[in-house]
Amino acid sequence: MKPRDLLPLLLLLGALALTPLFASNLLLNFLVSALIIALGAQGWNLLGGYGGQLSFGHAALFGTGAYATAILQVKFGLNAWLAFACGIALAALAGWIIGYLSFRARLRGSYFALVTLAFAEVLRILANAADFTGGAAGLLIKLQPGLANFQFASRAGYLWAVLACILVVGLMTLWIDRGRFGAQLVAVRENEDAARALGVDVLATKLRAITLSGAITGAAGCLYAQNFLYLDASIAYGTWISVELLIAAIVGGLGTVLGPVIGALALHGLGEVTKGLLGWLTGIDLVLFGIILIAAVAFVPSGLVGALRRLRMRGAAR
């Protein structure tokens, strides 16, 4: 990895890490929410952007991470950090299981999207019905601020925790992007038969991708649980999360390292502004997200990162 490749990622995250010096709590709250989506979208992007397997049910992974952290703390009294690690591992496992069942059945494209949606919905209904998830009443994590409990008195603590995760995942994505696994994953996205002919184990490649994707998106779920200290099925396994993750990744730029982060920040920023301006129209931000998604797919399929790159190249050519 060359230092030059790292620069945009480090600059962006570094700038965000400095915001607590001047920003209000309101802004920090907004950033934490947006960056949790960014982290989840990084997970989605690994499978969807690099691997071309468009999941419509990443809530299954987000929710598994979130519920696992919460349940392990509330019902089993596990330390929050350990619960965080277990949440990531369980979400990775969930990813592997969903991948094994659907990829082995050779589901692709819209069929894969539909099956992932079904998995997420089944989990949502189960979590809503079961006792140990708190059922419809949800699950409350006890407020005990302190580093040992992975709870922070100030929003800045959460912000830095999310940024640290995004940094780790960003570095990992960059490393994958430059290596054999990334090349094989992209080959699978572009043409499965050609990839197989060149010795790529398509099933194993997809499984690795969805497992990693599960771990990353699961981590976002864990952070969500720690930040809000409350969960119910329609939050953790809700369709909203699947949709937000994929829109952030697509609008930001599929198969790019920075795309999901930039996409999530841009979308959430825009969503907040519209909510502020047109607050009386409930759900107006979702309408806007839909319009933006259509516009992005139609006019800038390479996303914001791709558009920026093109602008820079045009500037350099001049």
Binding site: R178, G179, R180, A183, Q184, V186, A187, R189, E190, N191, D193, A194, A195, R196, A197, L198, G199, V200, D201, V202
Partner: protein, 250 residues
């Protein structure tokens, strides 16, 4: 020594027997041709040899080992590489990245894989186009790319499915020495080809498939004059008619 043996292969698609008890031997170090009229089952036979299809009966033996039930990516690891008749480039990637996917089979590191990709590109004449998106290549370029990607896996056996189809005569002339060079490096080649100029020029041995069955084999010149082969291409009685006309058109 024979590198690839197809033993009494049959492939049935519902009511259609696409390959019917076909056998074939490819000697190590040879360029072997597989010809036959359209719809004879040549590409199906290739799919059986490379693992994209499983035969209804028969065996595929590579380098002395039975690989009949093995997945394509495992056969690629053993050293069988194939190209596709309908070219399958990774559209969104550059030529360099396309070839590198093949090179990653034997090179885990990025630098080694990219170096391999470059050297293969030079060999097949794609060096000036390394940073071109695959989607922007001409037909001839895409055919070369198919060849390059397969070569980058450092195969022992190269299965070429009509790499010359769609090329103009001068492009064909350009690529013949490339294929000879590949063989000279010790890579065995089995090629499906319709361009007879190339078959005559390159192949040591030719097999003829018609309606799923092997109808003839031998040195290219002998095979082309075989009445059975002529009739398979031109219809019943054609061989006799050509003989009657004094072989003027033969």
């Amino acid at each position: 020594m024979s590198l690839l043996i197809l033993e009494a292969l049959s492939k049935r698609f519902g009511g259609l027997l696409a390959v019917d008890n076909a056998s074939l031997v490819v000697r190590e170090g040879s360029i072997t041709g597989l010809i036959g009229p359209n719809g004879a089952g040549k590409t199906t036979l290739f799919a059986l040899a490379s693992g994209f299809l499983e035969p209804s009966s028969g065996h595929v033996i590579f380098s002395g080992e039975d690989v009949t039930a093995e997945e394509p990516h495992l056969r690629a690891r053993r050293g069988i590489a194939r190209t596709f008749q309908i070219v399958q480039p990774f559209q969104g990637l550059t030529v360099r990245e396309n070839i590198a996917v093949g090179a990653y089979l034997r090179h885990a590191g990025r630098d080694a894989a990219l170096a391999m990709a470059e050297s293969v590109a030079r060999e097949v004449g794609l060096a000036p186009l390394l940073d071109t998106p695959a989607a922007a290549l001409t037909v001839a370029g895409r055919k070369r790319l198919e060849l390059a990607r397969a070569l980058a896996t450092q195969p022992r056996l190269l299965l070429l499915d009509e790499v010359l189809a769609g090329l103009n005569p001068s492009e064909v002339r350009d690529i013949l020495p490339v294929l000879r060079g590949i063989r000279a490096r010790g890579v065995t080649i089995l090629m499906i080809e319709h361009v007879m100029q190339a078959v005559m020029n390159l192949c040591d041995h030719v097999h003829v498939l018609a309606q799923g069955r092997m109808i003839a084999e031998g040195p290219p010149r002998a095979v082309c004059n075989d009445p059975v082969v002529i009739e398979a291409y031109l219809g019943h009685g054609a061989a006799a008619r050509i003989r009657a006309e004094g072989g003027a058109h033969a």
